[in-house]
Every structure is written in C-alpha cells, then in structure tokens.
C-alpha cells in the first residue's frame, strides 16, 4: 500500500532549497567584511611614510655636507641632554605631510607623533631615553606605529662617553599615529 511517509512535498521543498541557496549567495556576496587582518594596511602605509621621512632626514643634501639635518638636530650645538625639538617638528611634519598636487600643510592628514632618542648609558650600563619632540601626548587610546633610525652623533650623552668627541650611535624612535 502506498502511503506518504518519508516523502518530500516536491514544490515546497524545491522552493525552500532555492530560497535558502539564493539567500546564502546574496549574504555572502554582498558582505564586505573589514577583517582584523586589513588593519595592517593602514599601519603599513604609515610605517613606510615614517621610515622614509626619518631616512631622508638622515641623508646629507650633498657629498660635501658632512652631516645630515637629523644629525644637526640631535647635535644642537653640543648641549648635553637637549635637542633641536622645534627643528625636528618642522622638518618631520614637512616630510610626512608632503603630498603631490598640494602645498605642504602641517596638519592635513591628522598625523601626530612622539619622538624620543635612546642611547647607551656607559656608566650605568643601561639604556637611557630622552624626549626629542612631540605634537601631541599619547593618552593610551591611540594605535601608533613605531619607526626608528640609527643616527651617528658627535656629542656627549648622560652617563659619559663621547667626551673625547668620538661619535655615538643613538636610536631615534618615533611613534606615529592618525586621529
């Protein structure tokens, strides 16, 4: 005897299957998910920009120049523990805000930074850090990228060394972020 147990109701089943498939297709196709992995793109762009800026600041303008602008900023007439922060601020923002087709403006991209100089304290055998310049203080909510550049400076740093004017290698470290 024929009964209907275990049978599909054809029209309803097919219709439901098609609707489900079509819905799944629409949902998957229409969604553009900003995955956590994508955040590295803007970080990469900012990191590249900062690295380029520091590298260019540490490049002398011609072969007869013995020092780069960044070396002059750190040397600052040999004053111990201090640097030309104003000079760094102007030059660094000029580089990172420079764009084609427009004049240099110091805040079109909402870029902020905090720069420090790290050195080796020979007396204490520790690493010391001195402030260089900043255009906004870090509050803890930012997501900065870190860019660095090794610079040779003919200057004395805290903890001695360099008094005989032997050049010192110090690390300029910049935390860079956008609003």
């Amino acid at each position: 005897m024929v009964n209907e147990h275990g049978q599909l109701y054809t029209i309803e089943g097919v219709a439901a299957a098609l609707i489900m498939l079509f819905s799944a297709y629409l949902v998957l196709g229409a969604t553009s998910v900003y995955t956590p992995g994508d955040t590295h793109i803007s970080d990469m762009q900012l990191e590249q920009l900062g690295t380029d800026a520091l590298r260019m600041m540490n490049t002398p303008v011609n072969g007869s120049s013995s020092t780069s602008p960044l070396q002059d900023i750190l040397y600052y007439n040999g004053v111990q523990g201090q640097f030309d922060g104003t000079g760094f601020n102007t030059l660094f923002l000029n580089y990172v805000n420079n764009q084609t087709g427009s004049k240099i403006d110091n805040a079109p991209n909402g870029l902020h930074y905090n720069a420090t100089v790290s050195y080796y304290n020979i007396a204490n055998k520790t690493t010391g850090t001195l402030p260089l310049s900043t255009n906004r203080n870090l509050t803890g909510g930012e997501h900065p990228v870190r860019v660095t550049e090794w610079v040779i400076v003919n200057k004395t740093f805290p903890g001695g060394g360099g008094t005989d004017f032997k050049p010192r290698a110090v690390l300029v470290e910049v935390l860079l972020w956008r609003d």
Binding site: M1, V2, Q7, L8, T10, G13, V14, A17, L18, L21, Y25, L28, G29, A30, T31, S32, V33, Y34, T35, D38, I41, M44, Q45, Q48, L49, D52, A53, R55, M56, T59, P60, V61, N62, G63, S64, Y95, V96, N98, Q99, T100, G101
Partner: protein, 358 residues
C-alpha cells in the same frame, strides 16, 4: 500482490536531482562567493606598495646601459622601470630616470603596466611625483575612483653636477693662449678613476655613464689682447669636439692619449647642434647621460673632450689670429673632479611620489 517497498517515487528523484545540480553549481561558485569576504583594497594596496618599492628602491632593468638612455625604438629592451640611482641607495631618485619615466612617448597604461605594475590582472593606476619647491606635479594615469590602493613615498632626487668657468677662472687657471693663433683648443678631462673611486656613494657620485656632464663657460674672449686695436676676430666657431682617451693597463700604466672619435652632434646652449657652431662670448656644453658607454671608457680611463675653436675675419672664411682666447693647451686640461672650486656637486632635493592602483 504488488509490493511497493523499496521503490523510489518520481517526486524524490526529481527533488534529489535538483538538489544535486544546485549543489554542484554552488560548489563551483564557492571561490567566487568568498571574494566578497576579502577587503577589496587588500590586493590593490599590495600592488601599490610593490609598485612604490620598484620605483623608489630599484634602478630598473637594464642597468648598464641604463634603461632611460635607450631610444624609443628600443622599447622592447626596457624590461623594468625603476627610478632609484642604484639599488644601494633606496629613496634617492635619478632626475634622468624621472624625466624619462614621465615623458610623453610612453602610452598609458600598456607601456607602464608591463614594466612597473606587473601581474595578470589589468590594473589601472595613477603615479604622480612632485619635487619640493615646485608647484608642478608630474603624473601618469587617470584620476582614481572612490576605492583604490595607495602608497606614498618620501624621496630625494639627485641633481646634476656642472662646472662654471668664468673669465676670472680663465685668467686664474691661465686658460687663455699667450700666442697669436687662429685655432684655440680647450680640453676637459674626465678622470674615471677619480670620479668613480673617490665618491663610492652613488647618491653623491658623478657617474659619467648615467649622469649628465655640463660645462658652462662665460667670458671666453674677455681676456683677448689688444681688442681696441682690432686684434679680435669677428667670428669664432666651435669647429670640432675630439674625444681622446688613455686607457692604462697593468703592463703600461701611462699609455699615450689617443684621439679616436669626434662628438659630431653635441648639446650646446641647451640644443643639439651640428658643428661647426658659431660661438659668442659664452658656451654651455652638455654630455648627455648614456653618451659615454663602457666601450668608450672603462673605470680606469682618462677621457678628454678637446674643444677646437677657429677664429675668422669679417668674411667668415679667412682665419684670423687672436691672442688671449680660451685655450688650455699650455696650462693643462680642465679637471672635472669633486673639487668644489671647479664644479657644483650633485645636490639632493626633496620630493614625494604617490602610487594609486585600482
């Protein structure tokens, strides 16, 4: 009695067939479905980054002779555009490469896509460059749409060296003849050992193979003797430029200088001219990048460009003797070296390069 147990119904067969067809169809669509899950700009940003690296950190291919010195007829030999002076000096661009890259002889996008963008996908792009202190933005490509990949690179552009010789230098170096002569010769010396060895950093090096060599001379006849007594020639021509060289080898470190060719169409006063060429009081001579090849001069060669000047009377035919004109036959050649007293060294200028890909 007929038993129906174990039979499939037509309904089930129809449903299962549709399901299988749909399943296979969807399975083939799965790779395409998940494209939407990827951020659209991921690939574009990666391509923009790669393009930026190629342009800013790579000198291009071929390197020697450099791609920017090849004529348009040799487009097929240019494999990769790169603007860096050398692979050892990232972010330092060559002004010659930049000029060649943005020249209008290339067609967008095909010529650029195969040499700097790469990839199978037909990307569109915009590459723009601006030098500090200039309002001129040089760019190729269309305006970017709303979504595109992007990278910005901060660079420096290596300028050209040049020598400026004025009348005070001519007299100080005794670059003027003391005899009454109808032909004066002024020699410019390129010491390759010195030019390539004394400055190893390609960012500051004067590289005669890839860089422009420029000599500006002014006041060439200021020191001509007895002008008021009519002892000055009415016409002077740059008659010829001889190319001479001395190539030391281990067995003969000081071989004689041999003149072996003529520079027949030099760039004088910023235009290519045929010799003889009439000269007034000033002269600007350019030896363009790519003119000197490794066949012409290797790294140990002493290369000389001997400029010959003829003086003529008013009829422009009869040679006219003159005393005191530019001539360094007796004092020795002008040394094109890193001495800042002789030449202006190459200077680096700030610039910015942006790449957008979509």
């Amino acid at each position: 009695m007929t038993d129906d147990a174990g039979n499939l119904s037509i309904d089930f067969l129809a449903g299962f067939t549709i399901f299988l067809i749909a399943f296979i169809y969807i399975a083939t669509l799965i790779p395409g479905l998940f494209i939407g899950l990827q951020s659209r700009t991921v690939d574009y940003d990666a391509v923009a980054y790669r393009t930026g690296v190629i342009l800013v950190e790579d000198p291009g291919m071929p390197y020697n002779p450099a791609w920017e010195t090849l004529a348009d007829s040799h487009k097929g030999d240019m494999l990769r555009f790169g603007l860096a002076v050398s692979k050892d000096s990232p972010n330092i661009l060559s002004s010659q490469k930049v000029d060649r890259f943005f020249c209008r002889t290339w067609s967008y996008p095909d010529d650029y896509r195969s040499r700097v963008i790469f990839g199978d996908y037909p990307y569109l792009f915009n590459i723009s460059f601006q030098q500090a202190g200039s309002n001129l933005t040089r760019s190729i490509g269309d305006n970017p749409p709303d979504e595109y990949g992007y990278i910005r690179r901060v660079v420096k552009v290596k300028g050209n060296s040049n020598a400026s010789i004025d009348d005070s230098k001519i007299r100080a170096y005794m670059f003027n003849s003391s005899d009454n002569v109808t032909t004066d010769v002024f020699s410019i010396h390129l010491n390759f050992t010195n030019l390539l060895g004394d400055e190893p950093d390609p960012a500051y090096q004067i590289n005669p193979y890839n860089d422009q060599i420029m000599v500006n001379i002014s006041g060439m006849n200021v020191s001509v003797v007895n002008k008021s007594l009519g002892a000055e020639a009415q016409h002077t021509t740059l008659e010829a430029i001889q190319i001479c060289r001395s190539k030391p080898i281990s067995t003969n470190p000081h071989p004689p200088v041999v003149c072996f060719a003529n520079f027949t169409s030099p760039i004088v006063d910023n235009k290519q001219v045929d010799l003889p060429y009439p000269i007034e009081d000033n002269l600007s001579l350019i030896i363009p990048p790519g003119f000197i090849t490794t066949d012409l001069a290797d790294a140990n060669t002493q290369l000389y460009f001997n400029l010959t000047f003829n003086h003529y009377d008013t009829d422009n035919v009869t040679l006219f003797p003159e005393n005191g004109y530019l001539n360094n036959t007796g004092s020795g050649p002008f040394e094109y070296t890193y001495d800042p007293k002789n030449i202006t060294l190459p200077k680096l200028q700030d610039g910015v390069l942006e790449v957008s890909v979509w």
